[in-house]
């Protein structure tokens, strides 16, 4: 026990070590100079930036004086945005998506840390926005009926699909690496539309940025080998069913296809294809037009006179029960677009319950809280609508009713309007008829627009719902005295203000596509419709279809305030139709 009181070896060593440590600490405090603050990480460094990327992060090694950074941070070309700070991290949220096809330089030559030494390690970073690119169906020459990718930034044209395929419709994947399309063999001459098959084709454009190798926890979704353009893959064949219309979900994982049995036309309805799963029929009442919601798990399906919201999740349909009906919107017969956040949608009411407005169409903005707002009412037809990047503006393509002698003046002859309206419905349904007679066509279209048909009879509906891919419109059905003049308008959803952007020449079919960065609209113009205007075609030797680019803003201010103005469109030297921007 005496040893407990004696000095032990530890009593000598420990104070010695403590003394040594103290000396080291004091030396560091006196002689050490704190490292200069610097940027540790810039989240967009060398990244391809897309429209969904709304903000970048700058992480500093030390908390910074916000003002000193905000004043010295420079992005060339200018990108307006807002700063926000959380300790040593700064987020810069863009007011509007970065314009595509540009290389940006970010520089921070000097800044001040909150405390510690003055000075800063200057930082420079670069990032690129994605190339502007769109895909269209070629017209004329070797491009005819093939998918063509046009990189507007590099002015490069790539033929994607094979010459022996006639492309009917297509939709790009969200990663812009692939395109889903339906096509028939060009050799097939009879009943072509019944033989459409679904394919994907690679675009050769990078979809994802590769993470550095040491960041093993981040998965790289796209293997290098797949980036070659023009590799096609069959998604859905036509052996038992005709593949009619399709839609691709926002996450690119789900495809919904309207299919009808080759043998039994009453076996008709939407099918769901998920990556890695067999196609399955959605157990629901057959319906008309449909759209997958941005959440990728629900489907807006035109059923009866309204729109049903149906759950696409397999769990609910695994049991032999009906697909779960999430909601039903009885007044709205058509969904034109759904806001990217899923909180609201642009829907069309055909005003069937109101005898006064029976032959008009109303465009409504409907939120998921049940708020409704009438945006537009027309006795023509609302062809399409697209929300802009922040869901504040709806770009809307409307067919205005004209008479050939008295253009610009709307007719109010109900019967005529009603009849022409069905034609318009046919147009926007892209419901391209191959019908034998005008009467039959109209009847069928009436069924499509769910106007006068007893919907309890599903078989009849199924037969009536013979929608096809393809863009050949039954123009000849138009009554000669009356025609439509399409125009594009921008509607501010909050204020309801409309701004007419462009009036287009009367034509059977128009595709309008808003660029992902919201700066321009791409549309096609059919100069000559081959079947009906043979005489005109003979006189005109240019391309029958051409593409136009319509800028929406002239100044940065207009863009930030989201106030598009009418500007003259630019003709692209491209013969094609159905142009769609890649995301």
């Amino acid at each position: 026990m005496t040893s407990r009181r004696q000095r032990q070896p530890l009593d000598r060593v420990a104070p010695l070590v403590m003394f040594g440590l103290t000396v080291v600490i004091v030396a560091m405090l006196i002689f050490g100079s704190q490292a200069l603050p610097r940027v540790r990480n810039f989240s967009w460094q060398n990244q391809p930036v897309k429209a969904d990327d709304v903000a970048f992060l700058l992480t500093f090694t030390q908390p910074m004086e916000p003002d000193s950074v905000e004043q010295n941070l420079n992005i060339e070309p200018k990108l307006s945005g807002k700063f926000s700070w959380a300790g040593r991290r700064m987020a810069y949220t863009l007011d509007a998506p970065a314009p595509y096809g540009e290389t940006f330089k970010l520089s921070l030559p000097t800044a001040e840390a909150l405390s510690g030494p003055t000075g800063f390690e200057a930082f420079e970073g670069t990032f690129r926005s994605r190339d502007r690119a769109f895909v269209y169906i070629g017209v004329g020459g070797e491009e005819t009926d093939r998918l063509v990718l046009f990189n507007l930034t590099k002015k490069e044209k790539t033929l994607l699909t094979a010459a022996n395929q006639t492309v009917l419709d297509f939709q790009p994947y969200p990663g812009r690496d692939r395109i889903l399309y339906s096509a028939v063999d060009s050799a097939v001459t009879s009943d072509r539309l019944a033989s459409a098959q679904l394919y994907t084709v690679t675009t050769g454009l990078d979809s994802t940025a590769q993470s550095p190798a040491w960041q093993f926890w981040r998965k790289n979704t796209l293997p290098e080998a797949e980036t070659e353009a023009g590799i096609t893959e069959l998604i859905l064949d036509n052996s038992e069913f005709q593949n009619l219309k399709f839609d691709l979900s926002a996450d690119g994982e789900t495809i919904v296809v309207q299919r009808v049995s080759q043998e039994n036309p009453s076996n008709f309805g939407p099918w769901v294809i998920r990556a890695g799963e067999d196609p399955r029929k959605l157990k629901t009442e057959p319906g008309g037009d449909f759209k997958i919601a941005p959440d990728s798990v629900s489907l807006l399906l035109q059923q009866g006179r309204g729109t049903a919201v149906i759950d696409l999740e397999p769990e609910t349909t695994a049991a032999e029960s009906e697909a779960l009906l999430l909601d039903f919107l009885p007044e709205y017969g058509l969904t034109l677009d759904i806001a990217t956040d899923g909180a609201s949608a642009a829907l069309v009411n055909f005003n069937q319950d109101d005898p006064e407005d029976r032959f008009t169409q109303s465009l409504y903005w409907v939120s998921n809280r049940g708020d409704e707002k009438l945006l537009l009412q027309t006795n023509g037809a609302i062809l399409s609508a697209q929300f802009n990047d922040n869901n504040q503006i709806l770009y809307c393509l409307v067919n205005r009713l004209l008479s050939s002698e008295n253009t610009g003046e709307d007719y109010d002859n109900e019967a005529l309007i009603g009849r022409d309206r069905t034609e318009a419905v046919e147009n926007f349904d892209e419901n391209n008829s191959q019908f034998q007679s005008e009467n039959q066509s109209l009847e069928n279209d009436l069924e499509d627009s769910e106007t006068e048909i007893d919907l309890a009879n599903n078989d009849e509906l199924a037969q009536g719902e013979t929608e096809f891919f393809g863009e050949e419109n039954a123009v000849g059905l138009l009554d000669e005295a009356y025609s439509f003049s399409p125009y594009l308008t921008a509607i501010n959803i909050e204020t309801g203000q409309t701004q007419k952007l462009i009036e287009m020449p009367p034509q059977p079919e128009i595709t309008v596509s808003l660029s992902p960065d919201g700066l321009a609209v791409l549309f096609d113009e059919a100069l000559v419709d081959d079947a009906q205007n043979a005489s005109l075609q003979a006189e005109y030797d240019g391309p029958t279809h051409r593409l136009w680019l319509l800028p929406l803003f002239s100044t940065l201010e207009e863009r930030i305030n989201r106030e598009p103005i009418a500007l003259p469109p630019t003709e692209l030297d491209i013969a094609g139709r159905h142009p769609i921007w890649l995301p």
């Binding site: 004696q6 070590v17 440590l21 490292a35 090694t61 030390q62 040593r88 909150l114």
Partner: protein, 341 residues
């Protein structure tokens, strides 16, 4: 009212993030505490002081316990004759160098991966160094509390005779024995303290072991859960109640931030499985070095731990541990602040 709301949100978010790791930590520590036989472990430990300290520091991988569970384990190691360097290394490093804590730190500091690795490296460095320093004391006895030392002293002479092997037949040992089933013997005159501090569970049947595991889990969860709730409340209060400028001013000083975080670590006594989430809430306002100091020093020494340590070591030894650990943590954190930024 706004402050109260913010504070409550902070408190809950800390709690929600941390509770799963606490559960895992408790489950692991209870299971392994009962199924790893320390006696066998002690017999294979290296005798070299430096290697012993290093191995002791790395033993946490086998005993994923936070600082609340490691003192009893270290005590058992000492009583069973493990070298001083091993015991001290284990005592200091085990709460940090173990899979659960590494994972939790990773989850919390994914944005600053260097913190995760620096935490492990610095802890290893400090624990091994202090273990090494303590190994200069050939007989740790004078620095142990009397009951621990006594239970150990009784063991020592025979250890010296047999070269450290504890497999000597009990017939060759002096004392009073009971013959029990299977040829085992139970020494009746073993000091009570030794029987108390030795892991009492090793001899139990599997069913009762399981029962004890569950009991231990519930007990640890109750004790540590309370500490976690308390710690989260402090963290939330500090951030809401103390003016932001004060915190920022304190948190940005090269040395003051380290001192503040070390003091906080000592007072809060938060469990090492969840302390990274606690530190994360300061990540935006405090220097990297100070966060590191919190993460290194907290699991080694804190108020709750000092209480436990004093049941094993004398005040002098605890002071050495405390002083060495704090000086080294401070020096390393300062170096990080100065040279890594």
């Amino acid at each position: 009212m706004v402050h109260l709301n913010t504070g409550f949100t902070l408190f809950l978010s800390l709690l929600v993030e941390a509770v799963p790791f606490l559960l895992i930590g408790v489950a692991f520590s209870s299971l392994l505490l009962f199924f790893v036989n320390e006696q066998q472990l002690v017999s294979v430990l290296p005798k070299n002081a430096f290697l012993g300290a290093l191995v002791g520091s790395l033993m946490g991988v086998l005993f994923p316990v936070c600082e609340c569970g490691n003192v009893p384990v270290a005590r058992r190691l000492i009583v069973q004759g493990a070298p001083t360097a091993v015991s001290i290394g284990f005592l200091l490093a085990a709460p940090t160098i173990n899979p659960v804590v590494f994972w939790a730190t990773w989850v919390a500091f994914r944005g600053q991966p260097e913190v995760v690795f620096l935490r492990v490296i610095c802890t290893l460095l400090i624990a091994t160094s202090i273990g090494w320093v303590f190994s200069y004391q050939p007989d740790i006895g004078p620095f142990l509390q009397e009951n621990v030392a006594r239970s150990r002293f009784r063991d020592r002479p025979k250890r010296n005779l047999t070269g450290g092997s504890s497999n000597q037949p009990s017939l060759l040992q002096g004392g009073t024995f009971l013959q029990v089933a299977g040829g085992e013997t139970l020494q009746l005159d073993t000091p009570a303290a030794q029987r108390l501090v030795a892991n009492p569970v090793q001899a139990q049947s599997p069913v009762s072991k399981l029962q004890l595991v569950v009991d231990n889990m519930v007990r640890e969860l109750r004790e540590l859960g309370a500490v976690l709730v308390f710690g989260s409340a402090i963290a939330a209060t500090v951030q809401v109640a103390v003016p932001r400028e004060t915190i920022l001013g304190l948190g940005q000083g090269m040395a003051s931030s380290i001192l503040a975080m070390m003091a906080l670590a000592t007072v809060v006594s938060i469990c090492s499985t969840v302390d990274s989430f606690f530190a994360l809430s300061f990540a935006s306002t405090f220097t990297t070095g100070s966060l590191l100091a919190f993460l290194i020093f907290g699991p080694m020494i804190d108020l709750k731990n000092i209480g436990l340590l004093l049941t094993v070591f004398t005040g002098r030894a605890v002071f050495y541990l405390f002083a060495l650990a704090s000086l080294m943590s401070f020096a390393l954190a300062l170096a990080v602040n100065l040279y890594l930024g």
